[in-house]
Subunit: 344 residues, 2 copies
Amino acid sequence: MGMREAAPGPQRRATRADVARRAGVSDAVVTYTLNGGAPVARATAERVLQAVADLGYQPNQAARALKSGSAHTLGLILPDGPDPVFENPFFTEFANAVEAAARRRGYALYMTPTPPDQTSVVTRLNDFATRQVDGVLVVPGEGSLDPDVLDRIGIPWLQLNTVHEQVGVDSIGADLLGGAVLATEHLIAHGHRQVAFVGEIDEREPRYRGWLATCERLGVERGPALPSEYNRQSGYAAGLEIAAMDRPPAAVFAASDLIALGVLRALHERGVSVPDDVALVSFDGSWEAEYSWPALTSVRQPIEEMAEASVAAILDRTAPDERRHRMFRGELVLRASCGVHRPA
Amino acid sequence: MGMREAAPGPQRRATRADVARRAGVSDAVVTYTLNGGAPVARATAERVLQAVADLGYQPNQAARALKSGSAHTLGLILPDGPDPVFENPFFTEFANAVEAAARRRGYALYMTPTPPDQTSVVTRLNDFATRQVDGVLVVPGEGSLDPDVLDRIGIPWLQLNTVHEQVGVDSIGADLLGGAVLATEHLIAHGHRQVAFVGEIDEREPRYRGWLATCERLGVERGPALPSEYNRQSGYAAGLEIAAMDRPPAAVFAASDLIALGVLRALHERGVSVPDDVALVSFDGSWEAEYSWPALTSVRQPIEEMAEASVAAILDRTAPDERRHRMFRGELVLRASCGVHRPA
DNA sequence: TTGAAAGCGCTAACAC
DNA sequence: GTGTTAGCGCTTTCAA
């Protein structure tokens, strides 16, 4: 008779063959019942399902992956630089949302910080390919990736958190320019006749462009533009500069929450009051913006929506050659840092 | 002749057979060369390695997983409750450190928030098992897990972030009691004759016990103990209570950074100054504690060390029956929230 | 509607 | 030292 269920302890997992035997059918029928692919007689199907339940059978995903070329898994590559990505609540929220979206579709997620240079990313993509990963979401860092090289690996990929749209690259990103316009307009609506900018100062950076354009359009003096990387330290340095000015700008648009948090700290230290002396609006709308002091008014990126769309874009891709950029609008979340709001 | 390399585009990945053919050896020799397991003549090995390089061959991990029962992958289960785990920088840092430790060992990581109840965790462990995951790190939430049930799944697991040591459970955790002692002593060293506590009020909670014992040992009045869950909102509520007191405690020990952040916000709102009116020390030492205002003095958990140990514990496990709790000491990181430090 | 059998790519026991 | 071969558990023709 062979071994019956051994005493408690890590027992061997049931395989498709065990199920088939117990249901008195062939292996194939088990597959048909479970995955479809061929019609199965009602009675047969019931016996199979019963056997599955009795045995607590669960298909071996490794075997499935080998045979079908799909591990039912997605990969997420986050930029691993001098600033730990996971210290950025925006990425953290994004990663979380992607995992949730993948799971809803029955996919698992490999998530890994990777240096954002071409070679490292290629290595990681290759590793994913050997694991039969179905698609990879890449959050780029500094430096750009050559789409052709990545394509040649043969694994579907999609670029997240895109700032500059690129031909031949399937990508997803927030409407940075539109968000910057929202933020700047709001500061101006508060009555400020001068708005400063802290962030990446580059004609091609949409947040910078949005701020610039809005100041010009509304005939408002553009306060100084202070350079800052997207982290707290750099924002702090900019904040110190602001505090040291003879005539500090009464309104500041910071290109990310992290920058704003740094600015905030510097102003606190120098006894400059936010929002009384300086009104501040930032970008991202991550949860950290909510528990800062004062809480930050910020342009909230539609993270869940973008995550959902990312997973869908890669999983539902039909024509591999139809590549495009998908842009998502954010909304301004009003809190305390921009000043008191009057009823409209 | 068959097909030669097709024009650029996702080409078929080379398999072990391709390498064998090109090197003029059998499949087995390729395996021997790559994995060891049998001696290979120097010259042969060189030819194989050359072929591997020429073809850019990388072993198919799905096939490996099927054959060997190991996907070279670890799983990390985070508690998914009403409070999103990824809003807690402590978990975020921990997850990041675990991923890095796993990667250093050549392992990938599945990371997933999961409701911490028994059924959900079992389901997830089973899913991991079908994917031939080599071991799972479980961060428990509310409610306890039955080790016997988890063991029966047959996949090695380890409990992280452990508060209460349990027999029969392999686990890792910080020295919470020792940390609470450090924090409380420090507040007392600042000259305060009364120290309050905000956190979980339970005789079995080590942070609570450490605070209690230290106050008694040093003959200091223990200020009120205010209940709080481990999140910002709850800390905020406690902070409001503190601010509303006739005679607020001059020193507070908060059981986590998140709690402290909430307390801080409440005190700000009520115009209570930290550290002048209230000195504050918290627990965890996550990065968010550094950019709060004022920056938090906090007991830093040795996250990297614990992550490293977690991965090692599960991968280097020899005797599956030798289970124990591994405890790690934290250290007090001095910042501003506890008050000015005089030279020792 | 069901079954037999080939094969995904790799490993390892066994033979030479 | 090297080759042959039998699977790991599953999917999928192809036949019956």
